[in-house]
Amino acid sequence: MLASIFFSCRKEKGIINEEVTKVPNQITAINGLYILNEGNFGSNKASLDYYDYANGIYRKNIYEQANPSVTLGLGDAANDIKIYGSRLYIVVNGSNKVEILDVKTAKKIGQVDVPNCRYISFYKNNAYVTAYAGYVAVIDTAALAVKTQIAVGQQPEEMAIVGSKLYVANSGGYNYPNYEHTVSVIDLNTNTELKRIDVDVNLHHLKADQYGDIYVTSRGNYANIPSNLYVIDTKTDAVKKKFNITASDICIDKDFAYIYSVEWSSITSSNVVSYTKINIKDETIIPSNFITDGTEKEIEIPYGLAIDPLSSDIYVTDAKDYVTPGTLYCFDKYGKKKFSVTTGDIPGHFAFYTK
């Protein structure tokens, strides 16, 4: 045994190849689903997985095999993923960059550096990326370069586009206890901020529905103000409704919004988790969880949520303790589990790749 110290080769890390797991296949107009794993801050463990629908395989950690020559890989603390045209855009927060990949092969096409970048949206061949320094970077998707910046609130988070207006959730996360409490409205024709809509402290997720409404979550202040969910009417740019439910993330599919929430209870010293469904047509909460078969008990920390736009299958990820591989759960539209599979660390963001 002692000799092995001296005789053995030093096994370098080398290229880590993707890991393929068999999962149920489905033949639809969707090729597959990209799952972005954040990886814990400082660990440089952001990773990309792909669920190949037709072949029924889950390909874990595909980035390095596709791009072995990229120094230190995808990077640190990935935060958003979206497909625009034939390209896959990944916002890597800790690595201060937006990666641009070929959506078919996941091979790197280019990169645009945006310090402390968070979320991405697209409009007329421009990519809009929020940066924590308090602006939205406008990237020309042809030139792959930042062409201008639009000043918004402090530490802006998620965005959504309705018509030619960009709505940006401002968090002010670095200014505790003086959080931001507004949504910035930007005119995309002039790339200027039109106004700010007062909502609640520490705004985070922001999604548009098909009726011209914006759903926005507030993280609360982690003390006396709990998280919450609001609806903004984009015709009036005013808050239409406060739901008074705790909300961590929201996903909208046709007439339904799916919301999960993780809230720390100092009374029980444990997390209180809920899975809520809202009918967005009349903005009413549908009683009972959207996971209906008891699988929710297996999920430690729900961290990501996506709904298949065709089948309305529900995807929920479990980030567990943030430093171990997570799990992706797939439920049918009735909330019954179809399968689950191991992902990278902190799975949290999705992009459906349609034909």
Binding site: F7, R10, E12, I15, K45, P68, G75, K97, Q154
Partner: protein
């Protein structure tokens, strides 16, 4: 670009180690010059042999580096030196200014107490002592006890940790007719490193002497590092690594009329440094800064050695200030600029009474008050009162001794805002024994059992958002069974050999784990739950004499399985992060006339950076070879020493902590003069 995935550096290192071994063990080319050995050298060997025997008879494993050995190591700080101890993992964030903490037998760095001249260096904020801050310039001896020191006349704090590292500074010693002496040294080398130090010792009267030790360290700290996966191969310079540090220590040493000993020590360490962060894709430069100001005044009084009753009184006041600046994190109030001030007041009174020739008892009582202030929003401003009472018994016969003690810990936390952890009381026992089974004193068998806990730190409990005041203390239970063998020889090259081998089983329950996040200063609290640690460690020390050449060879080896056994966890029975299954060290030294040659080798096996033992978390093994050559010259009653070092000779690039690269090959030159 490197094409082969498995670079076989191990083979190269092996031949290197063997070649060096042969050079020391069978130095044919040196044997030719055999002459009569000097009496002085022989005496030194006898002293060393005597020391080894003392280590052998301890009921708890003891490892020690002192005096000459310490000087000859390519070591700058206490952190560099303790890497040679077995069962130890040094968590090293790299470079001269990088944080360096000790983890003994995988129980976590918070379970090792560090004592400076017998009094603990406390840190209620995060429970860690940065050993990189303690320069070896003014240190005589570094000793590590697994379990605890087996003495009786010691503060209750000496009973209150799972393992203890003792750092000892020199006490003034004068030759007849000598009233004062000086030591000046200058070190310089890679990293634009320059380190002058000055030491002055004065005899004030027959019973009173004074010592002043000062030092300045300045370095850009820059070094090249390399990351590769076999396809990409990137070499970058580590930046924001500069450090400027000043150390000043003054001591007053006295004897009373009845030969009781007392001393007062004033210590100040002051530094400014860059804080280089984790190297991740697309991010190689950092702008974070840190300032430290550590001050303490400590005093001890020990009654004269007496057969029946002795006592020891210790007192300390410590003030530690840290400022952390992050220019990249800008809020409406400007960049993040955190300031922490920690204060501690400490008293200890220890008594020892000999009831019979074979029976000694002791009672120690310690009290400490610690508080932490910070300029953070909603900060808790925690303070902690700790009372420790230790009662110990030793029964000692020529071939068997047993010591048992019970420690009572009473802790009360207070906070100005939020919820305090409240009152906690615990009683923890230790029992240890050493047995000589045969008539000859060569072989001894030892064993100990110790149960101890560590309190969650102020950061664990009260850090805004991250802290959790409901955290429970983290318990460590240790079982150790060891065998020690030592033998001295005459008329052969091998003068003495000693072997210590211990098998141990530790259990850590309710383990609190800190995982670094965006930078070294911010952590995510994790409760790993339960860890089971089974290991074997071996130390072999030998002294050799080949005519005029005297040589030492030391080897340490550890095999350890530290498994996460949290029943509900996601990583059941997987090796916990950063703990290698195998680690080893070799130290070889040879002296010929006024020349000294030293070779040291450190091996740390493959590890995982996170809980899941999967390829993504794999951290390769690393090994470093260090060489140093020194020469002593005596001229005009001044003793000069010149030493040249090459560290990490094979220029291996490695991480101890993932994404915190370590320096490659580096050089250092030391000039010192004693007069």
């Amino acid at each position: 670009m490197i094409k082969n995935k498995n670079a076989c550096l191990g083979i190269g290192c092996f031949y290197f180690a063997i070649a060096t071994c042969l050079g020391v063990v069978c130095p044919n080319f040196l044997w030719a010059q055999v002459d009569s050995a000097k009496i002085k050298q022989l005496n030194e060997i006898q002293i060393k042999a005597k020391k080894i025997n003392l280590l052998q008879s301890s009921p708890t494993p003891v490892q020690n580096l002192g005096g000459d050995d310490l000087k000859r190591l390519s070591s700058l700080s206490v952190a560099d030196a303790i890497r040679y101890f077995s069962g130890v993992q040094l968590k090293d964030y790299g470079g001269i200014g990088g944080l360096k903490t000790i983890n003994v037998r995988s129980m976590g760095s918070n379970h090792t107490a560090v004592f400076y001249d017998g009094i603990q260096l406390g840190n209620a904020q995060n429970g860690q002592v940065d050993l990189g801050k303690f320069s070896l310039d003014n240190i005589e001896e570094v000793t590590l006890y697994s379990g605890q020191k087996s003495a009786l006349l010691m503060p209750a704090k000496a009973y209150a940790s799972a393992s203890a590292l003792y750092i000892k500074t020199p006490v003034p010693k004068f030759e007849p007719n000598q009233n004062h002496y000086f030591k000046a040294s200058l070190k310089s080398g890679s990293f634009d490193f320059i380190n002058p130090s000055f030491n002055y010792t004065q005899k004030l009267s027959k019973k009173l002497s004074f010592n002043l030790s000062t030092e300045i360290l300045n370095a850009s700290g820059k070094y090249k590092y390399r990351y590769t996966n076999g396809v990409y191969d990137t070499t970058v310079t580590r930046t924001n690594t500069d450090i400027f540090a000043k150390r000043m220590e003054a001591g007053l040493y006295g004897l009373t009329a009845d030969s009781s000993k007392w001393q007062v020590k004033l210590y100040n360490y002051n530094s400014e440094r860059g804080v280089p962060g984790a190297i991740v894709a697309n991010k190689f430069n950092f702008s974070q800064r840190q300032w430290d100001d550590n001050f303490f005044l400590q005093s001890s009084y020990q009654s004269k050695e007496n057969k029946h009753y002795q006592y020891l009184f210790n007192a300390k006041y410590a003030y530690d200030f840290t400022r952390y600046l992050d220019p990249d994190r800008i809020s409406l109030n400007g960049p993040l600029n955190n300031k922490y001030t920690q204060q501690e007041t400490y008293f200890s009174f220890a008594n020892q009474y000999q009831i019979d020739t074979f029976w000694v008892i002791s009672l120690s009582a310690d009290y400490s008050f610690q508080k932490l202030d910070a300029n953070l929003q909603s900060f808790a401003y925690p303070s902690r009162n700790t009372t420790l009472i230790a009662f110990a018994n030793t029964l000692r016969w020529p071939r068997f001794n047993v010591q048992a003690n019970l420690l009572a810990t009473i802790i009360n936390d207070k906070v100005k805002t939020n919820i305090p952890a409240g009152n906690k009381a615990a009683y923890t026992p230790t029992i240890m024994a050493s047995w000589q089974p045969f008539n000859t004193a060569n072989l001894r068998i030892r064993a100990f059992y110790k149960s101890i806990f560590r309190m969650p730190t102020f950061n664990d409990l009260y850090y805004t958002f991250i802290g959790n005041s409901t955290l429970k203390p983290e318990y460590a239970t240790q079982y150790d069974l060891g065998i020690t063998f030592s033998k001295s020889f005459t008329n052969v090259s091998l003068q003495s050999i000693s072997i210590q081998t211990d098998a141990y089983y530790n259990q850590v329950t309710d383990k609190i784990v800190a995982v670094p996040t965006l930078n070294l200063f911010r952590w995510t609290m994790l409760n790993l739950g339960k860890v089971s640690i089974k290991g074997i460690e071996t130390n072999v020390q030998s002294l050799w004499q080949f005519g005029e050449i005297k040589a030492t060879a030391k080897m340490g080896y550890t095999f350890e399985k530290a498994l996460d056994v949290t029943p509900t966890g996601n990583s059941y029975k997987q090796q916990i992060p950063y703990i290698p299954v195998q680690s080893a060290s070799i130290l070889l030294g040879a002296d010929w006339k006024s020349f000294g040659l030293n070779y040291s080798y450190i091996f740390t096996g493959e590890r995982y950076s996170q809980k899941a033992n999967i390829p993504e978390n794999y951290v390769p093994a690393w090994f470093t070879h260090d060489l140093s050559l020194q020469k002593n010259i005596i001229k005009n009653k001044i003793n000069y020493r010149i030493a040249a070092e090459v560290n990490n000779l094979l220029n291996q690039y490695y991480d101890v902590v993932l994404n915190y690269p370590m320096p490659g090959r580096n050089y250092r030159l030391t000039l010192s003069a004693d007069f």
